[in-house]
């Protein structure tokens, strides 16, 4: 029996998966905090304790994500693009386009179902089109970020909302609230605008169906719905979209062991 770890140190949240030959033995997520090294250590401990294993049992660890270079115990570091493709194809082999909405960047990639990537694109130098804005607005609305999806779906009358700057979105949201716009309608407007932005990024490399959405943003049912509406077709979301990159990293770890054998 081999055990492998996949660790994804994101800018906001860190995610980890432990696998054996059969499948997942557990996963864990926590805030990345300021000290990525420490977070990675803690992640490893948590995963081991969930699987009831010790450090020596682990044959290979692959790290990915914003802070991957600080996972000093990793055997290999892989870009999140490749990990995402692997992760998605293991769960949704029919997906050809993957949209990952992370904290700082939105990433879109085209894959063939085997985990190969054909092309990809990252959002640019402005955080306005990524997941961070969701957090910012959640704070203004004084709701938890995992509540905004459901709220948005309840909207009856979506407002026009300019995404633009992720920082000033806060100010704009406050002024909208004072104009007696409801939280629901505001969120629906935000989701619509963000989805449009994400869609045009995706379109730049061409979208082939099926489309899968992963990353923090895929947990947001309102955003997923908005993107479905804009695209006019269904969008797949794997069971735990947050873990996709970590899962992919773990699979890559496991695969490289079998190749070496």
């Amino acid at each position: 029996m081999v055990f492998v770890l996949g660790i994804d140190i994101g800018s906001a949240q860190s995610k980890g998966v432990i696998l054996d030959d059969q499948g997942s033995l557990g996963s864990f997520e926590c805030a990345s905090g300021g000290d990525f090294k420490l977070t990675a250590e803690r992640m490893r401990e948590e995963l081991l304790s969930r699987a009831g294993r010790s450090v020596d049992d682990i044959s290979r660890t692959v790290a990915t994500g914003y802070g991957s270079k600080l996972v000093i115990f990793a055997d290999e570091i892989k870009s999140d693009i490749v990990c995402l493709a692997k992760g998605v194809s293991s769960q949704l082999p029919t997906a050809r386009t993957v949209i990952d909405i992370g904290d700082l960047y939105t990433k879109v990639l085209r894959t063939d179902g085997n985990g190969s990537v054909h092309s990809f694109i990252l959002s640019g130098k402005c955080a306005g089109g990524s997941g961070r804005i969701l957090q910012v607005i959640a704070r203004v609305l004084q709701v938890r970020v995992d509540e905004i999806g459901e709220l948005s779906l309840k909207s009856k009358k979506r407002v026009e909302f300019n995404t633009g700057c992720a920082v000033f979105a806060e100010t704009e949201a406050i002024s909208r609230l004072s104009q007696e716009v409801t939280k629901e309608d505001l969120l629906a407007g935000l989701h619509r605008a963000l989805a449009a932005q994400i869609n045009s990024l995706a379109e730049r490399i061409g979208v082939e169906q099926e489309v899968a959405m992963v990353g923090g943003g895929a947990r947001d049912a309102g955003l997923v719905q908005a993107l479905k509406e804009i695209r006019g077709h269904d969008i797949l979301v794997p069971p735990n979209p947050y873990m996709t990159a970590a899962l992919g990293a773990a699979i890559i770890a496991r695969e490289s062991l079998t190749i070496q054998d």
Partner: protein, 267 residues
């Protein structure tokens, strides 16, 4: 922030409201406080001019002027020698060019990106857990300003947090942040061909670290009013006073709104 200045012969009340986006819409409270300080009721105020981002949303204002006109008016009142004004606010930064007679002859403003405004400093200060009042002095202790390679506020925030974790001193980070903002401001106001005297006003004028970085990059000496936050409100009050005086001279009626202290929606 919301500021109120009540003017008679001289300033009889001047109040600065609290910081933070949550409070921005509570502008009417600031007005109440100012009235309290002046021991006046709102009915007793002859004329009210609103300025700033939320100027259109002040229901009890008789007239609106932009910050550009008002800051210029306020600054020229305080510094008749002013030729270039840089207003560093929380929403945007403006450069204003003044001619010898104190008239605005040109101006520039940045686009809607927090990276080019005072908000940049607010966000970073918050990330580093230092209060706005102290960022300036802290940064002046630095001898090796850090390089902040990201422009976007959010990315810079992440970058600064990572550097802090790596042990880069707080003061160096703050100095770096000030350099970065000063660089963006400089690039913009240089379009005006900066001339002496250069006055910095707005909240940014309270930040000595930023002022020093700006002064170095512009290669110019910089003057700051004693209370930089209120120059816009002061200018608005002066504009109001002029309107009243003109109306009195010409014997024309003043067009005023109903004096009700309604809630203010600030954009």
């Amino acid at each position: 922030m919301t500021k109120v200045v009540i003017l008679n012969k001289g300033i009889i009340a001047s109040i600065i409201g609290p910081t933070g986006p949550e409070q921005r819409r509570l502008a009417n409270r600031v007005m109440e406080e100012a009235l309290k300080q002046a021991a006046l009721s709102i009915q007793e105020i002859t004329f009210i001019v609103a300025t700033g981002y939320g100027r259109i949303n002040v229901p009890f204002a008789d007239k609106q002027f932009t910050e550009i006109t008002c800051h210029a008016r306020g600054i020229v009142h305080l510094f008749p020698e002013a030729r270039t004004i840089i207003d560093i606010g929380g929403q945007d930064v403006k450069g204003i060019k003044i001619d010898v007679s104190g008239k605005v002859i040109d101006f520039v403003m940045n686009d809607k990106c927090a990276a080019g405004s005072g908000r940049f400093i607010e966000v970073i200060a918050d990330t580093l857990g230092v209060s706005l009042d102290t960022v300036g002095d802290l940064s002046l202790q630095s001898s090796h300003p850090a390089t902040i390679s990201n422009i976007c506020t959010i990315y810079a925030q992440q970058e600064v947090a990572a550097s802090l974790a790596e042990g880069v001193p707080l003061s160096d980070l703050l100095a770096g942040v000030h350099q970065s903002l000063a660089d963006r401001i400089c690039r913009m106001v240089n379009r005006l061909r900066v001339e002496q005297a250069v006055i910095v006003t707005g909240g940014g004028g309270k930040n000595r670290g930023l002022l020093q970085a700006l002064s170095e990059q512009l290669g110019q000496e910089i003057l700051v009013p004693e209370e930089p936050l209120i120059t816009g409100a002061l200018g608005a009050a002066l504009m109001g006073k002029e309107i009243v005086e003109k109306a009195r001279q010409n014997n024309t009626p003043l067009e005023t709104k109903e004096r009700i202290l309604g809630a203010v929606e600030i954009l």
